[in-house]
């Protein structure tokens, strides 16, 4: 076996992956924050009473979930400048964040939509009957209850995003995996360097899961895990 423990240790305990780790974290959070905003608006639009708006959402979901994420990343960085005669020529980081957040926004749209659907229609109706505007009913009544259903899959998506961000190495965003491949191209110690790269990802995803679990606990505190009062309804 050809395994150089020394390379592993010196790479692991050097500062070479600090900036890349920050880049990975920054890309992940930026993409998720945008994706959450896109998903929230997407779910609202999907439930809109305007058919045209609903169709726009359907089209968005079809395209951004149907095309591989790697293709989308290359599109935003390499194809868009050509398509627009260089009018739009994004730096790698911006192109990467846009690609990841729009693709992720499609999944978040579905997550928000199922979250809203999980809240009984009577909740919104009761809020409206008390004089709440649609926006206030959403903010105070529907969203807090929908979060119970939204947060767990959102946490999964967050961790998935951390790992998916490694694809940005194809457009030379200096994140963990890109820097790892850089190093291997000089020293050819593929196994050792990939091991260190993996340790970094494991560390970051472990920290992220911990944070997510704390948030989940906060959101479900004091609430029933079972759906509220399921009783037969008689039509009037």
């Amino acid at each position: 076996m050809n395994f150089d423990l020394n390379v592993v240790l010196t790479t692991l305990f050097s500062t070479v992956f600090l900036m890349p780790a920050l880049t990975t974290i920054g890309v992940t959070f930026a993409a998720m924050v945008i994706a959450i905003a896109v998903g929230f608006l997407g779910a609202l639009a999907a439930g809109s009473r305007f058919p045209a708006l609903r169709m726009v959402v359907q089209f968005y979901l079809m395209v951004f979930r149907g095309v591989p994420i790697l293709v989308q990343i290359v599109f935003w960085y390499n194809a868009l400048p050509i398509l627009t005669n260089n009018a739009i020529n994004l730096p790698p980081l911006a192109a990467g964040i846009i690609a990841l957040s729009l693709a992720e926004g499609a999944y978040m749209t579905e997550i928000f939509r199922s979250g809203f659907a999980s809240v009984d229609h009577g909740q919104r109706e009761a809020a409206r009957a008390l004089g709440m505007t649609g926006a206030l009913a959403m903010r105070r009544i529907v969203l807090p209850q929908a979060l119970k259903v939204i947060v767990p899959p959102m946490g999964n998506q967050f961790i998935a995003m951390l790992k998916t961000s490694s694809l940005l190495f194809v457009i030379a965003v200096p994140e963990i995996f890109a820097i790892g491949t850089d190093i291997t191209s000089h020293n050819f110690k593929y196994f050792e360097v990939l091991l260190v790269v993996s340790i970094w990802y494991l560390l970051l995803s472990a920290l992220l899961s911990l944070g997510i679990r704390l948030i989940e606990k906060r959101i479900t505190r004091g609430q029933s895990a079972v759906p509220l009062c399921v009783v037969p309804v008689k039509a009037g």
């Binding site: 009577g122 008689k234 009037g236």
Partner: protein, 253 residues
């Protein structure tokens, strides 16, 4: 002018007509019970009064204001803003068949939610008022129970307190006891009876004949999207004029 004035109200769901020209006045302080079989339109009529349902033609005025619309120059209805309709709904209480208490809030927070966030009542004052209301409906000590920890009858009484917290000038009840176990019906009716005796204007869709007989000032029979009988309870139950009412009462006995 009556508190509630409904004129030539028509409502359809797609191709199906539900209300075919309703005219109805309810004066301040009156208790009106609406009876009728399933599909007669009584729940829909109730939901139109606070604009939870849109209307197709006619008009509904509450306290002199057209609810949910403004009148165009040629007399057709123009939808008004969500904010304006919400302000009107804030003065009309509604109690639902399935309670619809907010599941993420305890009893007292259910009651304070709208006063604090809609009427902008200071929190301390809203909570004090909510505690009083819960006591008035017999739920002192249950302030911090969540809906799933309360029986159906208790939930419905919280729902009544929640509606009253907005200091409504009109209360709408949509089959408030239909989803309750029989032994829990009495406590809710008792709460409603107390409310009626304090002079609250109430429109109640119900199947509780005895309650209608004892508490209502007027009993209304709906059939096929029309009001077919509108009489004081003594006359309604002893000498109904319409054949549909007679048949309905015969079946209920």
């Amino acid at each position: 002018m009556a508190l509630v004035e409904i004129r030539a109200l028509h409502k359809r769901f797609g191709a199906v007509g539900v209300l075919h020209g309703i005219d109805l006045d309810v004066s301040a302080g009156q208790v009106v019970c609406m009876l009728g079989s399933s599909g007669s339109g009584k729940t829909t009529l109730l939901r139109c009064i606070n604009h939870l349902e849109t209307i197709d033609s006619g008009s509904i005025h509450v306290g002199g204001e057209l609810v949910g619309y403004r009148m165009g120059r040629d007399g057709h209805l123009i939808a008004q803003t969500d904010r304006a309709t919400s302000a009107q709904r804030a003065r009309i209480g509604m109690v639902f068949q399935r309670f619809n208490l907010f599941g993420h809030l305890d009893a007292i927070s259910n009651v304070c939610e709208a006063p604090v966030h809609v009427r902008k009542v200071p929190i301390a004052q809203a909570r004090a008022q909510a505690a009083e209301l819960l006591e008035a409906v017999g739920l002192a000590g249950k302030e911090h129970h969540y809906p799933h920890q309360l029986s159906g009858g208790q939930q419905q009484r919280v729902a009544i307190a929640r509606a009253l917290a907005m200091e409504p000038r009109l209360m709408l009840f949509d089959e408030p006891t239909s989803a309750l176990d029989p032994e829990l019906v009495g406590e809710v009716l008792e709460t409603m009876r107390a409310l009626a005796s304090k002079g609250m204007t109430m429109i109640i869709v119900t199947h509780e004949m005895n309650f209608a007989r004892e508490v209502a000032d007027r009993v209304i029979m709906m059939d096929g999207g029309k009001v077919v009988e509108d009489a004081p309870p003594a006359q309604f139950f002893s000498a109904p004029s319409h054949a549909r009412t007679q048949a309905f009462l015969a079946r209920m006995r």
